[in-house]
């Protein structure tokens, strides 16, 4: 996988090769690849001269550092109490219907992944979700449909 090698090398050139650079590099891989493959982790370990198990252990600690293949757009619906009270389940239902995947899954075309997450900090405007870095709030099934349709077009 030469592209991964180059990507990791580039990220290490930018962020440095100390242990402190590890998380920024992992984040960089996510930005480009949506998930961190075992090849990517191996390359990172090599660049930083640390053990691969340490890279794996660090990556798996953080919920945004996915080590499973994810779609281009990762949807994270807040499941914490206030969003749950404001109809989070309906939103998930709608997303499952629209994308034809279950929670935790990725569409076959690798465009969308549907996940739940803990409090996003939009409790006053629940239900809320993130699509990659973008926050969407005060969701209703209709609104979700519009948003997803926009992404499908992208």
């Amino acid at each position: 996988m030469p592209e991964i090698k180059d990507l990791v090398k580039g990220l290490a050139d930018t962020h440095g090769r100390t242990r402190e650079s590890l998380i920024p590099i992992l984040q960089g891989v996510i930005t480009h690849e949506n998930y961190i493959s075992d090849e990517a982790m191996t390359e990172i370990a090599r660049e930083l001269d640390i053990s691969a198990a340490q890279v794996y252990g660090t990556a798996t600690f953080y919920s945004f550092l996915d080590t499973q293949p994810r779609g281009k757009y990762v949807i994270r619906v807040c499941k914490t109490i206030t969003c749950a009270m404001k109809g989070k389940n309906l939103i998930i239902q709608e997303l499952e219907d629209l994308l034809k995947v279950k929670l935790g899954e990725t569409t076959p075309n690798r465009k969308f992944s549907l996940l739940e997450t803990n409090c996003l900090g939009w409790c006053h405007k629940g239900p809320a979700m993130l699509i990659n870095d973008e926050a969407y709030t005060e969701l209703t099934p209709e609104k979700v449909r519009e948003i997803i349709n926009e992404y499908i077009k992208k």
Partner: protein
């Protein structure tokens, strides 16, 4: 509605004076003056633990090690809290300003903002604001630099020592204390870590002096605070209010007329039931809060609320220490079993004792605070827990 009882304050979001003006005021004072004003103001940390800010700065400035850091804790992950996001969105320069003043006091030249991954959308604008801020510092010949570090989705990284670990490129596992951050924080150097809101208050106290802040609030809880209000309320949002109100006063203004409980301080805070609204003060003398206020009306099942909190802790615990990692799983499985009738209601008593053990033996504040919501909900809504 008696609006008069809750005093709105406008210290945080007020943009009357420019950052540059305030910085100039600060730099016209001695470090001792700044610390004394902070001490006089009675400002306590707004991140949850409520440690006097002046003392933190003072201890750090007194260390033998000269390499020191100031860190802004913008990991805001407590369920029901979203005020730091608003502060960073509306008045980022004041946050940076507070950091600069702290840096002056403790003798730091490098600061960091640890921003939670969920707020990455703020990054672009924040970085722009930071560039402007650096330009102001340069104009004033102040040698201080701030770097924004992104989190990656882990509530525990809001705990200060976990945050340092995370910044050092590791798993966000809280450290043993002592040593405290003032002695050995980021890179094991003396470090001040403050909440976003604390830093803005510190900045504004440097501008206005102690009195304006001290005159607000109560003896134990001076000043005002930014509240994040959500749940069953027609007025969900962010409000800066004087401290010292009772839950009753709060509910009168923000409730929907049918409030049965208020969760003060997020999932790690306390649940106040209707019958205790009148006697409970929101503040360090009563129920402390980092700003999260969640209202529940009588249509809500407190079992579901508790279950949701426990799931949160079970997932967000770093997992290293026994009481927290296994305790959370047991509390969930336990209330589920009681709810389904697989265990007798007396099992709740055993779980209560377990939560007390977690409170006194867990390694960090996360595991220690699970008991807060657990015991306050189970105690007050026992009938809702039982099959």
């Amino acid at each position: 509605m008696s609006y008069t009882q809750l005093k709105r304050v406008d210290l945080i979001f007020d943009t009357e004076a420019t950052t540059k003006d305030i910085l100039q005021t600060a730099w016209s004072k001695t470090n001792e003056q700044i610390v004394n004003e902070l001490l006089e103001s009675g400002l306590k940390g707004r991140g949850g633990a409520g440690f006097p800010t002046a003392m933190k700065w003072k201890f750090t400035s007194e260390q033998a090690e000269k390499e020191r850091y100031v860190i802004c804790n913008a990991d805001e992950g407590e369920p029901g809290t979203f005020k730091d996001r608003e502060i960073l969105f509306k008045v980022p320069q004041k946050v940076f300003g507070g950091m600069a003043v702290c840096a002056k006091v403790i003798g730091a030249t490098q600061g960091f903002v640890y921003l939670r991954g969920e707020y990455r959308f703020l990054l672009k604008e924040l970085q722009k604001q930071l560039d402007d801020f650096h330009a102001i510092l340069k104009a004033l010949s102040i040698n201080f630099n701030i770097t924004i570090i992104m989190g990656s989705g882990a509530y525990i990284c809001g705990e200060e020592s976990a945050l340092f670990e995370s910044m050092e490129g590791k798993r966000g596992e809280p450290r043993n204390k002592p040593p405290y951050p003032t002695i050995a924080g980021f890179r094991s150097k003396p470090t001040v870590i403050n909440n976003v809101e604390t830093l803005v208050y510190a900045f504004m106290i440097t501008k206005h002096g102690a009195k304006k802040f001290k005159d607000l609030g109560t003896a134990d809880s001076r000043g005002s605070k930014v509240f994040s209000i959500s749940g069953d309320t027609p007025k969900a949002g962010i409000y800066e209010l004087e401290l010292g109100m009772t839950v009753d006063q709060f509910v009168e203004e923000f409730g929907d007329g049918d409030t049965k409980a208020v969760q003060v301080g997020g999932a790690s805070g306390f649940c106040v039931p209707r019958k205790k609204f009148k006697d409970t003060i929101i503040g360090f003398e009563g129920v402390p809060t980092g700003g999260s206020m969640m209202l529940f009306n009588s249509s809500r099942s407190m079992y579901n609320v508790l279950h949701n909190y426990l799931e949160f802790f079970e997932e967000e615990s770093c997992g290293q220490c026994t009481p927290c990692r296994v305790g959370c799983q047991q509390l969930i499985k336990g209330i589920e079993a009681v709810k389904k009738g697989e265990k007798h209601a007396v099992y709740l008593d055993q779980l209560m004792k377990l939560s007390q053990t977690m409170k006194i033996t867990a390694k960090c504040g996360l595991g220690q605070s699970v008991a807060n919501s657990f015991s306050s909900i189970v105690d007050n809504f026992k009938e809702e827990m039982i099959y």
